[in-house]
């Protein structure tokens, strides 16, 4: 599925109500965010049933305040709106899949 660019506070708050969702919190002039993007997009293309979104925290700092984000990129993993995991930095595909696995199958 295509990654959804979430541009309003109401949008991401609604978005995370899905049974499973992941949000890539990125920022302007962030090289690590640019490096992560193709990996994230490719995984999103392969995994239907999970909502993949993206938030530019320079424009929507509310999400950074809400989840204490102080580094970019940060991936937030949600189960029905509840944050169950987060990862920081430009991670490899294997690590991303491991984090998604935790969201899907662990407590």
């Amino acid at each position: 599925m295509a990654v959804v660019e979430l541009k309003e506070n109401d949008e991401w708050k609604e978005f995370i109500k899905a049974e499973y969702s992941v949000i890539d919190c990125y920022g302007e002039n962030c090289v690590a965010c640019v490096i992560l993007a193709p990996t994230y997009d490719a995984v999103a293309d392969e995994m239907s049933g999970i909502a993949f979104g993206r938030v530019n925290i320079s424009f929507l700092p509310g999400i950074a305040d809400e989840y204490g984000i102080d580094a970019m990129p940060t991936l937030l993993y949600f189960r029905k709106g509840k944050l169950v995991n987060q990862s920081i930095g430009s991670i490899e595909r294997e690590e991303l899949l491991a984090n998604i696995s935790k969201m899907l199958y662990e407590d």
Binding site: A2, V34, E46, G49, L97, S101
Partner: protein, 287 residues
């Protein structure tokens, strides 16, 4: 640490390597981006029997998963902890039950739905339906991807260009400072670094640290001399104001506040460096 630049290297004489200024677009990557749409917009249909590539939605036993979540299995992806479960559902149908291991737990899964994704043809109609402004055809999309890649590369290169120019400026300028004072400064600063490294369990490389401290001093002196030589004014009263605001904020947040003089020095250094970075940006734009 006190010091000055005795001879400032001429920034305008620096020739930034061509590869740091030009975007190098890999057409294979552009084509791959276009092809990725085939999977991104794949058609989803329910299948009778689970096979490789399918998504299998299951309900787990309530003992292991009391929250009643849908267990999604992606056959063939080998998600950590789900390898056995992915294999166990191959050949099964909706309504079937399997006993398997998932996330190191023995679970019973009842298959609810099998979803098969069929890649779609990438054509102009698909591209037009994506809703990207002024992108209606495959060629438009390729141009859009090229622009995006060029912008990303420019962002990556910007930092490399700054580093390159800074390194040239630091290495080719000359400095006057008191060696003994520098030794004492290194001693004091490295002790602080050493404690910080130990606190986070990082190994301490003393020689590297020493060179880093000298480099940092030279960087500041050079940036200051550069701004003065180009008539770039740094408003020290606003630097002071900003520093005090930051201190106030840190106090409000209950964070430990470093020495004010130290913070002021760092803020002043940043202000001079900003002036230099902005000049380097204009050098890049001219190229």
């Amino acid at each position: 640490m006190n010091g000055v630049v005795s001879s400032l290297y001429d920034i305008d004489s620096i020739v930034v390597p061509e590869e740091l200024l030009k975007a190098d677009i890999d057409e294979q990557k552009v084509d791959a981006e276009v092809q990725a749409l085939s999977k991104r917009y794949a058609r989803e249909e329910q299948a009778d029997e689970a096979a490789a590539g399918d998504r299998v939605d299951c309900q787990a036993d309530s003992e292991n998963y009391p929250d009643g979540r849908t267990i999604l299995l992606y056959i063939g992806m080998k998600l950590p902890g789900a390898e056995k479960a992915e294999e166990a559902v191959i050949g099964k149908k909706a309504g079937d039950t399997v006993s398997t291991v998932l996330a190191e737990k023995h679970v019973t899964l009842k298959i609810q739905k099998i979803v098969r994704r069929t890649p779609v043809e990438v054509n102009d109609a698909l591209i037009a339906g994506m809703g990207i402004e002024n992108v209606k055809t495959i060629e438009d999309y390729k141009a859009y991807i090229r622009d995006k890649m060029a912008a990303d590369q420019a962002m990556e290169h910007e930092k490399e260009v700054i580093r390159y120019v800074m390194d040239q400026m630091i290495a080719n300028s000359t400095y006057i400072y008191d060696e003994k004072e520098m030794e004492a400064y290194i001693q004091k600063t490295s002790e602080q670094y050493r404690k910080e490294c130990e606190a986070i369990g990082e190994p301490v490389e003393m020689e590297e640290m020493k060179q880093g401290i000298i480099e940092q001093c030279k960087q500041y002196w050079m940036a200051k001399a550069f701004c003065e030589s180009k008539g770039i004014k740094v408003d020290l009263s606003s630097v002071e104001e900003e520093t005090d605001k930051m201190i106030e904020m840190m106090q409000l947040m209950g964070e430990p506040v470093p020495d004010r003089a130290e913070m002021l020095e760092m803020a002043e250094q940043d202000a001079y460096l900003d002036g230099l970075f902005q000049y380097i940006d204009t050098m890049v734009e001219k190229n």
